[in-house]
């Protein structure tokens, strides 16, 4: 083991934040002001992710799922509402404190090539977060980077190659290794397999599955691919036009969806081994006003339609 110690803020890590939740969004709104007027990207979203849990976030393009990811990572402030990570309100921390928190929440993006530094070798890419957070010296960081590359299945022989010399699947493995460099608690995965070929997608999913178990990671897994989310998440939140319309344990959501939008989304899936469900005769039309979210069964919330 290389001597790269991870500083944990024991006072905060010890206490489990709000009742076993690692990250909580409470009544979050996000409005972007553009020349064409205000865009209400996220409306009244409350979500929470328990330690070690994987929350799936599904929705179509423009539903606000990536905005939600960036809000939860503290990459931009919500217009209203609060995000709490490990018991700390993100709007209350700045500078050094924020930096320390960031080390414990990392992100994996859709396009691995776009998210890696093209002029750094892959080992330098993986070591970069360690350098930025002043962990260890140059030599120990490189050793750690090689350990991480090995862990994600990249042959360390190619540690000094550049990202463009790797295939998309290998690039995503490198991006995952970099995200894990600071030993985060939360891994935010925004469409991590969407740009990959089918056979490679399965490999990367298998890797993420293995890592979350062995490292005890908490995951937020954003995808428009319902099959991937069904396989991967413990609980699923469905987003539509900036709102969460339904949230439930995965099996419940897929076996007995209650919200018409969730039903519509599931009916649009084209299965490989059987015929698709009949499409609803009249597609669901969202209403302008914000309707309340009700608990219909333990842990199963549905917005009124």
């Amino acid at each position: 083991m290389v001597d790269v110690t991870v500083e944990h803020d024991d006072a905060r890590t010890g206490a489990d934040g709000a009742g076993g939740y690692l990250i909580t969004a409470d009544g979050v709104d996000k409005v972007f002001s553009t020349r064409a007027g205000d865009v209400h990207a996220v409306r009244d979203v409350s979500l929470s992710v328990r330690h070690g849990e994987t929350l799936g976030l599904v929705g179509e393009s423009g539903s606000g799922k990536s905005t939600m990811a960036r809000l939860m990572m503290g990459l931009m402030p919500p217009t209203s509402g609060t995000i709490t990570f490990d018991g700390v309100d993100l709007s209350a921390v700045h500078g050094r404190e924020m930096r320390r928190l960031r080390a414990r929440m990392q992100m994996v993006f859709q396009n691995p090539y776009g998210s890696l530094l093209p002029h750094y070798s892959v080992s330098a890419n993986v070591a970069e977060p360690l350098r930025l957070h002043k962990r260890g010296d140059k030599e120990s960081r490189r050793k750690r980077a090689i350990e991480l590359l090995t862990m994600v299945g990249v042959n360390p022989r190619f540690a000094d190659h550049y990202p463009r010399q790797f295939s998309g699947g290998q690039q995503q493995r490198v991006a995952i290794a970099r995200a894990l460099a600071l030993e985060p608690k939360l891994l935010m995965c925004d469409e991590p397999t969407s740009s990959l070929d089918v056979s490679i997608q399965a490999q990367v999913l298998a890797l993420l599955d293995e890592l979350r178990t062995s490292l005890g990671l908490t995951l937020v897994f954003i995808s428009h691919n319902l099959a991937v989310v069904e396989r991967f998440a413990d609980r699923v939140a469905v987003m539509c036009l900036g709102q969460v319309v339904e949230i439930a344990p995965t099996e419940v959501l897929f076996d007995s969806p209650r919200h018409p939008y969730t039903q519509q989304l599931l009916a649009a899936v084209l299965p490989v081994t059987k015929d698709p469900l009949p499409a609803p005769a009249t597609p669901w039309q969202p209403r302008a006003e914000v309707l309340p979210l009700r608990e219909v069964a333990p842990g199963h919330f549905v917005r009124e339609a």
Partner: protein
């Protein structure tokens, strides 16, 4: 009745500085009127290049090295560029994955939709505009008279994709090549677009759909052709291919695909990644990733042959599809999976 497209022994090569890469190697298939063929494969398998060869839309470094593509008695591969222009857009159309890149951002839909009707001398502008408006309405664009005056950027992604399909449909081509037409759109829009293409199919257009989505292939297509490293590894009726994949690569693709409502099915990724054609493995190109490979797979490749023999009757789907499908299945593997 539209003619069928018969492609035989298609070979396409790309010239690099110091060598020649064969990107499409001996690809043959037939698309009959009103039928849809899925071409399934991962990036670099040659599926798009094969279709661009048929359209004669290869980049300058690409060269058709052999084969024929017959459409109603004409070999498209033997036509001059001038002759091909008369066929392209009129007899054979193409729809691309990204409408924003395929449509001209500086022209209104009216210019883009009437252009080839006029260019091919099918009708005058007034009639062309009438047909363009009608087609836009057919593809589900609301207020087509008004929308025809808009530019592509003024439409949403789904609407743009519809406009591009309208552009390909307006001349009522005999064959339509759709290159991942629904990959960039949301699932709820995907089904609407496929149902739209199904209407075109019902009117007798033969459709070739390039896709990596087995669910889309199963929903829309009659037959499927699986490509790997430029060659066809399996070809046959789509439902049979999915219920009983024979080539280990087809099996691998199937087992790598997650499906809603199949939580119990194991996710079995194919190890490794598709080969770089510059370093094509010897023998069967799939053997380094294949769990069934044996020593001879690295030395020689089995050609695509009928499998498991002519006249096999598909009991599972007998009567489900056209009879002609029941007989035809080809696999390029000696270790093809036998299903009991």
């Amino acid at each position: 009745m539209s003619p069928s497209l018969e492609v035989e022994g298609l070979r396409t090569e790309f010239g690099l500085r110091d060598r020649v890469l064969r990107v499409v190697d001996d690809v043959s298939f037939t698309v009959e009127p009103g039928q849809a063929l899925a071409i399934v494969g991962e990036s670099g398998s040659g599926k798009s290049v094969a279709m661009r060869s048929v359209m004669r839309l290869l980049p300058k470094t690409g060269r058709i090295a052999g084969g024929q593509a017959r459409l109603g008695g004409t070999d498209l591969l033997a036509l001059s560029e001038r002759q091909m222009r008369k066929v392209r857009g009129r007899d054979i159309g193409m729809v691309f994955q990204n409408a924003m890149e395929a449509l001209n951002p500086t022209l209104t839909l009216e210019r883009q939709l009437t252009e080839h009707l006029k260019w091919h001398g099918i009708c005058d502008h007034a009639e062309a505009k009438r047909r363009a408006v009608e087609t836009l309405g057919d593809v589900g664009i609301p207020e087509p008279e008004k929308r025809i005056r808009t530019y592509p950027f003024q439409l949403s992604g789904g609407m743009r994709q519809r406009a591009m399909i309208a552009m390909a449909m307006v001349t009522q081509p005999s064959v339509l090549i759709a290159d991942e037409p629904t990959t960039a759109v949301d699932v709820t829009v995907q089904r609407q677009l496929l149902d739209l293409l199904a209407e075109l199919k019902a009117r007798g257009t033969g459709i070739i759909m390039i896709t990596h989505d087995l669910g889309v292939a199963r929903y829309f297509c009659d037959d499927a052709m699986v490509m790997y490293a430029g060659r066809v590894v399996e070809h046959g009726p789509i439902r049979r291919l999915l219920s009983r994949p024979a080539h280990p690569y087809t099996t691998g693709l199937f087992e790598s695909t997650l499906e809603v409502g199949a939580r119990q099915r194991a996710l079995l990724p194919i190890p490794g990644s598709p080969p770089d054609l510059a370093y094509r493995p010897t023998g069967c190109a799939f053997h380094p990733r294949c769990g069934r490979a044996e020593e001879r797979c690295g030395r020689e490749e089995q050609p695509l042959l009928p499998w498991p023999g002519h006249g096999e009757v598909d009991l599972l789907h007998a009567g489900a599809g056209p009879e002609r499908n029941a007989e035809r299945r080809e696999v390029a593997c000696w270790k093809a999976v036998e299903h009991g």
